[in-house]
Symmetry: C2
Subunit: 336 residues, 2 copies
């Protein structure tokens, strides 16, 4: 006896290339009809071009070959990615100030959440200075159709979309005025097939202008995490981001202080290169918890440069995911 | 015998408040008519409101009180700052990537040029993340009239304009879309009374979008100086800025590598916190000289935080101005 459940289980083994997630994870299964030993499967065609449709149809036949189904029909129905995306938690990583390690924190949070069993995506909203593909060593270009774009999976399976995946060379300049940048961010949200995700991390560019404004106005983010460094000057500019989030009525989930110190093992001494920690002060001003204080780590810089950020191991990273999942859980509890 | 020359010499002692430069330096003297012992002085009214007009008229009378002039008339003629601004060298400091110390390099270059006898201004084009007033410890708000804005002088006499001088609090967020940001930058250029300057340093925000595009399209910059740090990831994004400058046909005057290393005096050891220097590689790619490699210096971070960047002394800073003046001189030679 063939049930919809058995078929769905089998379809979990049909993996969409580039995004490297199953038809089920990407929410592409629109309908399954079973009439005796004849099965009709309808898939959403969002982001799936005809070549990929053939590939997936073959994959479905292979996955179901061991069952007693006499006849399998696979058809595709016109769908937009937005209709298929079900994302539990959308968190924007913001700073106001550039170069505080916002992208590294975004990446490490995503990695950490992935390691603890969540399905995670990263939307790189820094269109002119996108660094995600480099940090993760992504080489593939995103696949897509008229109906949408597929993100590119990292080695550990984090789905990523970034302008740098689309450029002829990673050093090509994107000399665009803001309306185009804004449109690109909206496309990354509306036209990318994220499917079912536990977390979508949005890496924002510096500043409090178009990009964060667009994200806060048009993407249903659950809250923002603010990244800063110990310099007072940086704190001043980061507070602009705090003020913006408050004005836009987006909850600040927490503060991450990066580059807090450099530890010289030979001397067992911490050097506060950018001044005394202001993490607690900033957290108080933002009415949000201080989630982590990360040291300067040349090893992290090296791994980012080599595209191997996923190999980075540090107790700080684990703590970061724990802190974020706890906050999100508390928030959900207080709502329900 | 009263000559125009004597009067002009005397007017060098009449200082315009806030900008802290003389009527002559700001190019405000429109006309001087001498008829026997009667002198008529016409001043441009650009950025000079009526209160300031009275103050300056009194100042002129005081400055000329020791001469044998029987009668002094001071009148004001409608003028725009753009008609009075004569700036020899306009240099934009760019990076593409945030947080590489672009603003600190801009400030140190300005300080260094000022110390070697040049008149220098800074146009802070980072509207949402402006840090100049904080670094220089500026407290005054800019004065102005319907006809323009006066910059605010630093302790050593560098004239600075920055969005943070206009905000109710320095942590207020400027939540503006790009057309407004662009307009602010254009105003800082067209409506600010810079007068006669040897150098105007423009501190650009990160990215390759509206702000650098506006500066490159609407301000006659002589060239750009690119700031980077040793990380390959940063180098990749900085190369986008190099590509942009090349596409916009703006000469790259040189490269400054910042945060090259951290020197631990106890161990007499250099730590390359962000990886091996890529300054030379970047300079080659940009077909421009490597102007300086600056170490990470907690003392500089401290002085920036305390608003005392003008107290910073380092051989690196002196070298920076020398390198820039040499390049500018070579460029002028090769044209003439």
């Amino acid at each position: 006896m063939i049930t919809e459940q058995t078929i769905r289980e089998a379809l979990k083994n049909v993996i969409v290339p580039a995004a490297e997630r199953s038809l089920i994870d990407l929410n592409l299964v629109n309908n399954i009809t079973i009439l005796n030993d004849v099965v009709e499967i309808t898939l959403a065609n969002a982001a799936i071009n005809t070549e990929l449709q053939e590939y997936l149809t073959d994959g479905i036949r292979a996955a179901l070959s061991k069952t007693n189904i006499a006849n399998i029909t696979v058809s595709y129905v016109e769908t937009k990615p937005a209709d298929l995306n079900h994302i539990k938690h959308i968190i924007a990583i913001m700073s106001g100030k550039g170069g505080v390690g916002k992208s590294a924190v975004s990446a490490l949070l995503a990695i950490s959440l992935q390691r603890t069993g969540n399905s995670v995506g990263i939307l790189d909203a820094d269109i002119t200075g996108s660094s995600m593909p480099r940090m993760f060593g992504l080489k593939n270009r995103p696949l897509g159709s008229e109906n949408g774009i597929l993100p590119v999976a990292s080695e550990s399976g984090i789905d990523i979309i970034s302008m740098n995946l689309m450029l002829p060379e990673q050093e090509s300049a994107v000399i665009w005025r803001a309306p185009l940048l804004t449109k690109a961010i909206q496309q990354f949200w509306e036209e990318v097939l994220w499917g079912n995700l536990d977390y979508l991390i949005i890496d924002l560019p510096p500043g409090t202008a178009d990009a964060p404004l667009t994200v806060m106005q048009s993407i249903p983010i659950e809250g923002v995490i603010i990244v800063s460094t110990p310099q007072s000057l940086v704190e001043m500019i980061v507070k602009k981001a705090v003020n913006m989030a408050q004005k836009m009525e987006k909850p600040i989930l927490g503060i991450v202080e990066n580059m807090s110190y450099f530890y010289v093992p030979e001397l067992k001494k911490k050097y506060e290169l950018f001044g005394k920690s202001k993490g607690e002060t900033l957290a108080k001003a933002a009415h949000a918890p201080l989630l982590a204080q990360l040291p300067i780590d040349p090893e992290l810089a090296r791994l980012c440069d080599e595209g191997k950020i996923e190999s980075y191991n540090s107790p700080f990273v684990k703590d970061l995911a724990n802190a974020v999942t706890q906050i999100v859980a508390q928030k959900t509890e207080s709502i329900t």
